[in-house]
């Protein structure tokens, strides 16, 4: 893609997002989006950022992390903290030179950047020691770090401790949520299709062979982990500043990490399209089952867990496998890629 074209895409994307944001907040004529639907759409956007970012480390690099909620928490609390305690200052400072509107608008990206950096630092601190471990051990250590982060946050009164970070200003809107989701998709997709993506895939497939091909496996694992953590931090920052959606350590435990895992597994681990699909499904599913829940309280979560088990038994590669959505789908049916785990299935 040439540079002019890229700039064009960028401008168009921003324009469309701003337009949609306008529709989202004020509607068009009689058409108004209700708060309930708006909330679900926002949560889907955040879930996409979470799932696609986790897919970088779990799907692409094959390092099974169960600590995503921890990084979401670090980023979320840091970003929200910036807005709550320094938001006015930032708005004033930027506002004095660039105008009031710009000042108010830039609080969000600045808080998100702080959240991303904080989560990246946490990711580095967790990743460097943990990524020496493999498989189940890595899973349990990242889970442990996630829980430790949660307990630490519980003990910080300035961010609400056990009652949650409630005194926030809800500045996360449609524009920022989906701009970040798209940014995440672009970053992960570009890494994936580059030489770095191939290096990460090689690490997933065979670490010893990857090392023998000159790939510094530790460095790339940590790098993927840090990027993944930073993007989770962005998702956290959006989540914490969403209307009436306070961050609470109780909701950021390993069950949240597992939920994100379920999203990428449902869609097909390693597939970005799959992660987007999984994020949307897992966010909508509990809402869609709400009617069931009214008649049989708690049943929807039972259905949810049963679906997960059945999926693993009957379609462990997820709904999409490693496949990606592409325009080629419409042009011609290409021969499918070799099946994920069985191997040797492709026609020669």
């Amino acid at each position: 893609m040439s540079t002019t074209r890229k700039v064009l895409y960028f401008v168009v994307t921003i324009g469309v997002l701003l337009l949609l944001n306008q529709v989202f907040e004020h509607g068009v004529g009689d058409f108004q989006i209700r708060g309930y639907e708006a909330r679900i759409v926002s949560l889907i956007g955040i879930a996409i950022t979470l799932a696609v970012s986790l897919n970088l480390i779990n799907g692409l690099a094959g390092q099974f992390s169960l600590g995503h909620a921890g990084f979401m928490a670090v980023g979320g609390y840091s970003a929200t903290y910036v807005t709550v305690y320094h938001g006015q200052q930032i708005a004033g400072l930027i506002g004095s030179s660039l105008g009031e509107v710009a000042g108010a608008a830039l609080v969000m990206p600045i808080s998100l950047a702080v959240g991303a950096i904080a989560a990246a630092v946490a990711g580095l601190a967790v990743g460097v020691p943990s990524l020496r471990l493999k498989g189940d051990y890595l899973a349990i250590v990242t889970l442990g770090f996630g829980e430790i982060i949660r307990v630490i946050i519980l003990n910080i009164p300035a961010v609400g401790g056990a009652t949650g970070f409630t005194n926030t200003t809800p500045i996360a809107n449609f524009f920022w949520i989906f701009a970040m989701a798209i940014l995440t998709i672009v970053i992960v997709a570009n890494i994936r299709s580059s030489t770095f993506g191939r290096a990460l895939s090689a690490i997933r497939e065979d670490e010893i062979a990857a090392e023998a091909m000159g790939i510094n496996t530790t460095r790339y694992k940590v790098l993927a982990f840090v990027i993944s953590a930073a993007l989770a931090g962005v998702a956290g920052g959006l989540s914490g500043q969403l209307f009436a959606n306070p961050l609470n350590p109780q909701n950021l435990n390993f069950v949240k990490s597992i939920e994100v895992i379920v999203m990428i597994v449902l869609g097909g681990i390693g597939s970005i399209t799959g992660a987007v699909f999984g994020a949307a499904t897992i966010t909508i599913l509990p809402e869609a089952l709400r009617d069931v829940d009214r008649q049989f309280p708690g049943l929807r979560m039972v259905i949810y867990s049963l679906l997960l088990i059945l999926l693993m038994i009957f379609r462990p590669q997820g709904l999409l496998g490693r496949k990606e959505f592409s325009v080629n789908w419409f042009r011609r049916r290409k021969a499918p890629l070799a099946p994920a785990s069985t191997g040797g299935g492709a026609d020669v």
């Binding site: 893609m1 540079t3 890229k6 672009v186 970053i187 570009n190 890494i191 580059s194 030489t195 770095f196 993506g197 191939r198 290096a199 895939s201 090689a202 997933r204 497939e205 065979d206 010893i208 062979a209 990857a210 090392e211 023998a212 091909m213 000159g214 790939i215 510094n216 496996t217 790098l223 490693r322 890629l337 070799a338 994920a340 191997g343 040797g344 299935g345 492709a346 020669v348």
Partner: protein, 260 residues
């Protein structure tokens, strides 16, 4: 081993020993591999050949002794550092990147020569696009040499066994090595395939100006192409010389034919 060969050796191993607990897998082994050589390392099963490869490529660290590659001490270095210096290898038990295509396997190995930074890829800079194209072209060229260009987009593990071994060599070459280590490249191939492969190895050496170190279990294969052969038994060097000398060496005959 003359002084002259030691001075110019691509690979020089000095009294290398590797112990695993109480077991000595390699005992005071010395090697001098001159530039451009096709050097064979042979020995009965379990003699320690693969262990030697693992020591040379940094998978293991020698307990004692030194390894010099083009004058640089590489003993105890990480495998990826050694590869970067110009040593590439294949594996006895094929280790391809199974879930990737044939082409991707070879492109992956070229990563090491990449000058991009991560941001190039994320933003999609001209440097990224240019390098990506270049890597793909080079990989296709290599696949052509091995007659694998027709299956470039197949899954690597869907290839028949012999082609998987050839793909491993192609992948190793993509790292642009000056020393290539081949661990039983002809294993599992039929006699005709082995002969073809040996011819190809000789050709590769000349074409890419390589030094090749070859581990083989099959004596005939090694005798056919190697100029210099070192025989290992119980982790020790028991003979060193030209194929003719080795064939007549009583210690070698004893090791191969005599009982333990």
């Amino acid at each position: 081993m003359s002084d002259a060969s030691a001075a110019t050796a691509v690979l020089k191993v000095d009294a290398m020993t590797k112990r695993f607990g109480g077991l000595t897998a390699v005992r005071e082994l010395s090697m001098d591999v001159p530039p451009g050589a096709l050097y064979g390392l042979i020995g009965p099963n379990g003699a320690g050949k693969t262990t030697i490869f693992n020591l040379l490529t940094g998978v293991y660290t020698p307990t004692e002794g030194s390894i010099h590659f083009k004058g640089t001490d590489v003993a105890g270095r990480k495998p990826y550092e050694i590869t970067k210096l110009g040593v590439a290898r294949t594996f006895q038990n094929i280790r391809l990147f199974g879930d990737m295509t044939v082409l991707e396997n070879v492109m992956t190995a070229h990563h090491i020569r990449s000058r991009q930074v991560l941001l190039d890829a994320v933003v999609g800079t001209p440097r990224h696009r240019h390098e990506e194209r270049e890597t793909r072209d080079r990989a296709m060229e290599l696949l052509k040499i091995f007659d694998l260009d027709g299956v470039a987009n197949e899954g690597a593990t869907s290839l028949p066994y012999g082609n998987q071994r050839r793909l491993e060599i192609a992948r190793a070459l993509a790292t642009e090595p000056s020393l290539l280590l081949l661990d039983e490249p002809a294993a599992g191939m039929n006699p005709q395939e082995s002969i073809d492969l040996m011819k190809l190895i000789g050709w590769l050496r000349d074409e890419f100006k390589l030094t090749i170190l070859l581990v083989e279990h099959n004596m005939k294969v090694v005798m056919g192409i190697c100029e210099r052969i070192q025989v290992i038994d119980y982790g020790k060097c028991i003979a060193l010389g030209t194929p003719d000398e080795i064939q007549k060496n009583p210690a070698v005959i004893e090791a191969y034919l005599g009982g333990a």
